[in-house]
């Protein structure tokens, strides 16, 4: 297996190591400053889940000014999970770490469909009931927001406040 880099991915801007390396898991780097908690939220990681989680916020970055970093031990994020992050932090990079080494490094891609992680803002939408369905949003081109597949409501700003 080819190792791409050290798992200390938060020192690529020269600011030095701020958080401990993880043995296995995922490091999400270059998150827009202040968005780390929303990244955690959009990934569905809550207090009751078992992952060991490390969050660094507002880390100085040469390229970004300020950035956030999230490290999740013993969990490799799927592509679908990774792409959800693009909604709130399109510059984020994902590093899959195995035995302290970065084995995969990839950017996030804005998905065409968001399933189950965003709440429809329309209280009259069928997704806001007890029906056995998950919310589904089409991602509009050119950053114009999200459109509910069911009721056509459009979220144009402050997407994070609708994250479930």
């Amino acid at each position: 297996m080819k190792h791409l880099a050290s798992a200390d991915t938060n020192n690529d801007d020269g600011e030095g190591l701020l958080v401990r390396r993880i043995k296995n898991g995922t490091v999400i780097d270059h998150i827009d400053g202040g968005e780390a908690l929303n990244v955690v939220k959009i990934l569905g990681i809550v207090g009751t889940t078992s992952e060991a989680l490390t969050i660094a916020t507002n880390v100085p970055s040469k390229n970004m000014g300020m950035k956030d970093i999230v490290k999740i031990s013993d969990r490799e994020l799927s592509k679908e999970e990774v792409d959800r992050i693009a909604l709130i932090s399109p510059r984020a990079t994902i590093n899959i770490v195995r035995n302290y080494k970065v084995c995969e490094k990839k950017g996030v891609e804005i998905p065409t469909l968001i399933v189950g992680s965003v709440r429809c803002p329309n209280p009259g939408c069928i997704t806001r009931t007890n029906e056995p369905i998950r919310s589904r949003f089409a991602v509009l081109p050119e950053g114009k927001g999200l459109r509910c597949i069911y009721c056509d409501s459009v979220i144009t700003k402050d997407i994070t406040s609708y994250i479930i």
């Binding site: 069928i126 029906e131 069911y150 009721c151 056509d152």
Partner: protein
């Protein structure tokens, strides 16, 4: 029409959920078919032996009866649920389960429901075609198709000046019609009380499709320019008190005097029911087409039923 694999792994089938699922060719083909039916050129046993489930969880006169009439004229029959209280949803059953069950009893489902997106949900759980007969403030594609059909009876739709009057924010018929008219190079005029304008997202969407939209303060300002006056009901519950409602409603009332300066071929449409929006004295005017519009619901819905079931 709309061929979709259901996300629940159900059988691929045709549904009519939103006018946004259509392109112009599909709309024109359906209207052409309805026109043939309107001339009595159809097989009166085309849907013989077929059963239509009519699930109306909100009040309706025209839509429900015209769907049932359409089914009967094609030789089929209908079974109906007319309220939440009258079915197992009153016991807490989900709409999804109701749809699964009814799929076993009928060859197609027509649904009206107070929640937006309910018909889309139904199409995902049904194993038979679903037609949306209105979902909350959302879509009402059969109304839009019969609106277009009625305009086309009088004049070609392309390039017309169409005015939408009334509650354009919550009125689902206005939203659907505006979307459909964007296929026809129509110039759209809007006249609505403050706070009841077309939703900004819809306006933006329509303008991106190249539609010219002009807002007007009152009907007089535009009455001599338009070919179609599409009037919608201003709902009393949108206003804090009766006085403010009557003040607004009276200024949006269509009267024979108002139409004195109109184009000779102007037609006045209304999805009905009307309350105070149209003076009954207008009913005898050649401009008034709203009752004919309502009657057109039958051939248009016959074409829709044939489209999804044949």
């Amino acid at each position: 029409m709309i061929l979709k694999e259901t996300p629940r792994g159900g059988v691929a089938t045709h549904h009519i959920i939103s006018i946004g699922d259509f392109n112009r060719t599909e709309i024109d083909r359906l209207l052409d078919h309805a026109q043939q039916i309107g001339k009595n050129m159809y097989d009166k046993k085309a849907l013989g032996g077929k059963i239509l489930a009519v699930l109306f969880f909100e009040p309706s006169t025209r839509t429900r009866m015209s769907f049932e009439s359409a089914m009967a004229r094609l030789g089929g029959s209908s079974i109906a649920v007319s309220s939440v209280e009258a079915c197992s949803m009153a016991k807490g059953e989900t709409l999804a389960d109701t749809i699964r069950v009814v799929s076993g009893y009928a060859d197609a489902i027509v649904i009206r429901h107070p929640k937006e997106g309910a018909a889309r949900l139904a199409s995902e759980f049904a194993t038979v075609p679903v037609i949306n007969a209105g979902d909350g403030a959302g879509q009402h594609p059969s109304q839009t198709l019969l609106d277009l059909y009625t305009i086309r009876q009088s004049m070609p739709i392309d390039g017309l000046d169409v005015a939408l009057v009334g509650d354009l924010r919550y009125g689902r018929t206005a939203h659907s019609l505006a979307s459909a008219l964007s296929f026809y190079g129509v110039r759209l005029h809007t006249i609505s009380p403050p706070g009841l304008e077309l939703p900004p997202a819809l306006t933006t969407n329509l303008m991106e499709k190249g539609m010219e939209i002009i807002g007007h303060a009152d009907i007089e300002e535009v009455i001599d320019q338009v070919d179609v006056l599409y009037v919608t009901r201003i709902q009393r519950e949108r206003f804090p008190d009766s006085t403010s409602y009557f003040n607004v409603a009276s200024s949006y009332r269509i009267t024979p005097e108002l139409l004195a300066g109109a184009k000779k071929n102007l037609i006045v449409l209304h999805p009905l029911p009307r309350v105070d929006e149209i003076d009954p004295r207008l009913d005898a005017s050649p401009h008034a087409r709203y009752f004919e519009q309502s009657k057109n619901g039958v051939p248009v819905r016959m074409a829709m039923l044939l489209d999804v079931m044949k």
